[in-house]
Symmetry: C2
Subunit: 363 residues, 2 copies
């Protein structure tokens, strides 16, 4: 494993155990998860597996103190199954804690990381916000903004720059370019903004993200109280990274045949699923005798992470594989059909929400 987590890369950080020992992440255990006021697939299945100070956030929530949820996604493409997970984690937190959601459209980061200009980001932002609405975000309890239009967060980022050092950034991110460092500092601004006076002052803020974003959380926790001693250190929960369909990296739009986008033509998705990595055996005979190696199988992960909410149905699906009851080809057809149905329904709902999304962005 590398010395740093790279929030801009495609690494899977397959052996998560080292994240706990080397970077000080805390485990999500059943005791912690049981304190949630409601639950969902991500929490029940350990997809959200690590945190920083989530216990403190829960305590504040339990005591009726003001809390907030803050997160954001780069508008550098359509949401895919990786961003969908983050979005679901965010929306769940908004609901569970009946909390105001601060959602950052990270178009400055999209420029720093992808060289994508703000106009291009604008169009993706409309798509992404429609995705969020279709996934259940309550826009009435949300503050949605673009980094490129929010002077407060860039000023906070500027202030953060004076409170950290290049050596710290180097240690957190490995040696990166100045554009990415600057993007990281603006993200400190994003995370701290809900604690400003104009947003009713210091409070516990939960940042639900993919585990590869942890360096941003650490940077922000490092500078927060240097900027204002009254700031509460932000909390974070982390989800496992969803793999690309060939299982080699985290899912990323950079590799189109190995990503499932929420905007994909359902017919194309079927083709992609049929090419996905499985845990299938060398021969049909072995498959029947030994069952599939389900822990290797991305097709199983599609169901586990995304497309089978029913735990009993999931168990049956898993058993059918490990008992040798189905070939990978037939299983893929089933799963592809399930995804196709999901996407058709999702895309129909989203289409109706696009005008509302545009209104939110262009308000």
């Amino acid at each position: 494993m590398s010395e740093h987590i790279n929030p801009w890369g495609n690494d899977l950080y397959g052996d998560y155990s080292q994240l706990f020992s080397e970077f000080g992440l805390q485990h999500v255990d059943s005791k912690l998860a049981s304190r949630l006021p409601m639950t969902n697939r991500l929490w029940k299945r350990g997809i959200i597996f690590a945190h920083r100070d989530f216990d403190k956030f829960l305590e504040a929530f339990e005591k009726g103190k003001p809390v907030a949820v803050m997160s954001g996604i780069k508008p550098s493409g359509d949401f895919h199954l990786g961003s969908k997970l983050t979005a679901e984690q965010i929306i769940f937190a908004q609901k569970a804690f009946q909390s105001k959601l601060y959602y950052c459209i990270a178009d400055l980061e999209a420029f720093a990381d992808n060289g994508q200009d703000f106009e291009a980001s604008h169009e993706y932002a409309v798509q992404n916000v429609a995705d969020l609405l279709a996934l259940g975000m309550d826009e009435k309890n949300a503050f949605i903004y673009k980094q490129s239009e929010n002077k407060t967060v860039s000023n906070l980022g500027f202030i953060a720059a004076r409170k950290t050092t290049l050596a710290t950034l180097d240690a957190l991110y490995g040696h990166q370019n100045l554009g990415l460092y600057t993007a990281a500092l603006v993200q400190c601004g994003d995370i701290l903004q809900p604690q400003l006076k104009e947003f009713d002052g210091p409070k516990n803020v939960l940042v639900p993200v993919g585990v590869d974003q942890d360096p941003h959380i650490r940077l922000c926790r490092d500078v927060a109280q240097k900027i204002d001693p009254k700031f509460v250190l932000p909390s974070a929960t982390y989800q496992r990274l969803f793999r690309s369909l060939d299982g080699t990296t985290k899912m990323s739009k950079r590799d189109p045949m190995n990503v499932i986008s929420l905007n994909d033509d359902p017919e194309l998705v079927k083709k992609k699923v049929m090419r996905a990595l499985t845990g299938g055996r060398a021969t049909a005979e072995e498959q029947k005798r030994l069952g599939g190696e389900i822990e290797k199988c991305v097709v199983h992960e599609l169901m586990f992470f995304h497309f089978e909410d029913d735990d009993e149905a999931l168990k049956k699906f898993q058993h059918r594989c490990t008992s040798g009851g189905i070939s990978c080809g037939d299983c893929k057809k089933d799963v592809a059909g399930k995804i196709e149905a999901y996407l058709k329904d999702f895309q129909a709902r989203k289409k109706k929400l696009l005008p509302k999304a545009r209104k939110i962005i262009e308000k």
Copy 2:
């Protein structure tokens, strides 16, 4: 001489000749100065002594192409005789080229360099703009803004971050902290802003500044066409740095008894002048016989740079010194009286302009 010019330091860069050979500054000669549509003390006396591409700016102006003047000063204190020189250089350019002036209140830099928060900067900004008005700035032909309130320049700074490297910043500034690097990038935004579409697009922009600000100009010229190939490389003119009254550093508010502020009580100024460095001889007899060493004398510089506009009168003043016609004590009394009169008049004018300045800042 150091390997770098430090725009945040107090160095005098006494031997300016190395600036030309090492950093590629161009000389202001009489032929260039003669192309100005009007002249003043700073230009006639070689106080403005160096430039980058000022000939190209003049050419554009002579051909009737659109041009602009851009500069700014940190609002980290009252204007003193150093900032007054910069202000006079800026205001002269606005007049001479009948040009729109983009004036940046560099409060982000004041935070990065001095740790001064935006509220404190706000009050100094009101003072500074009143100073500019009292010195003759035409506010009707000016775009005056704070860095902390101008999203356009911070976004441009963000874009600049991706177009340069830490190695470049290191080479330009020596190793500085991340706050100052970020401030430098925002200043690229300040300098390039007049060339944006919303300000009628690419044009020749003149940046009149003290010579210690050259690294900012070089950084901006380095990134400008990487950001937009249509941008014209900014031009700059440079004034000599005014010395502290004891002659040891550039004038800086960090050393209160060696600075003359435009807000100083004229009585106090008299005391400061009486302590200033002169080129006086060891004894009265020597002074009469050899005359003063005028090239060492800060009191002479007060007249040369600031308080004697009349060239004939200046010559007489100089002759009286070098011919041994006056003691340093008597000379200082004369000069102190002249400054006292200037400040009384200036402060009375400024007082009337303060409400207008506040209106400009708080618009």
